[in-house]
Symmetry: C2
Amino acid sequence: MGARAGTVDQRLVRGARTRRTIARRAADMASVEGLNGLSIGRLATDLGLSKSGVQTLFGTKERLQVAAVESARETFLDAVVRPASEAPRGVARLRALIERWIAYVEAPVFPGGCFWAANLAEFDGRPGEVRDVLFGYHRDWRALIAGELREAVRAGEIAEPDVELAAFQIVAVLLAANTGLRLGGDGGADVDMARRVVDGFLTPPG
Amino acid sequence: MGARAGTVDQRLVRGARTRRTIARRAADMASVEGLNGLSIGRLATDLGLSKSGVQTLFGTKERLQVAAVESARETFLDAVVRPASEAPRGVARLRALIERWIAYVEAPVFPGGCFWAANLAEFDGRPGEVRDVLFGYHRDWRALIAGELREAVRAGEIAEPDVELAAFQIVAVLLAANTGLRLGGDGGADVDMARRVVDGFLTPPG
């Protein structure tokens, strides 16, 4: 019985690992094609798995889409939020978050650039679980920026009278910079502009 | 021969009219599903036309997508740019453009809200004619805002030191407001924030 439980455990571990691999690949694909462009068949072919195996792990396309968003969220936390959280709170952490974010779309971590930029417009008018997780994490990002701005105000580093408005603007210009980058050409100019907008918020007055 | 030429003319007129109707419907659909979600078959069914008829008028899906963008551009000019151009140049016209733009996404003119917001992310990484027209018109919009800002500076109405940066920010926060609106809930809050950002640029200093 101990041996049998061990076999089951190993299968569960392998299943969980395969699930993570598929979800990660799905997130990469969705950054280019959008979450609606995901195809269980194509994912299976790409990863050398059987279509029925992928179907067993995720069930519906919606479950796969949600798993892709959750995977993208983990990737985003690893690339942007966790490394920046080593910087002291307030302006230093904000600068780290913004620079990590720019690297995340410049490098880029996802082949299609910002995962959220690639998918928000596709789901903004489609109520459901995919939209809920997608926009939930997008709101978390804005709230994170707002929270650090608040911290910077509390510490007397900046004198921002409206932290929510500043966070709204910062998130908006970063998304616009991502669009500029995806186009190539003078996309770098849009990144510079986004940086200058952020600098405007993070520089102490006078 | 005169009669025959007349018949040909009428056919051309009918063809052009049908083409416009199809392109307009395609733009509506693409504002919700994206330009890649367009289907000649579904368009034909929606409009009570034969699939082969639609195919004859547009040829490829790419031609249909370009026609949808051109149609969206006309709709945008009618809804936003032309009415606003009745206002005197500078701050008055900028305010008219922004209010018309907000009405265009609040009403909304396209069922999916801003046509550009719905499609820029889908095409930013796909070089080709669709991307070229889509981003060409998007750049025109930013250039229009920048041009009026420049006019406002020239007339001494505002003292904006960097017109390109201001236009970049205005366009970015309007797109963010559109996203907020599509989500429902407190989307109106994002529109208010976009308005306040614009006001910040249009208010004379001191």
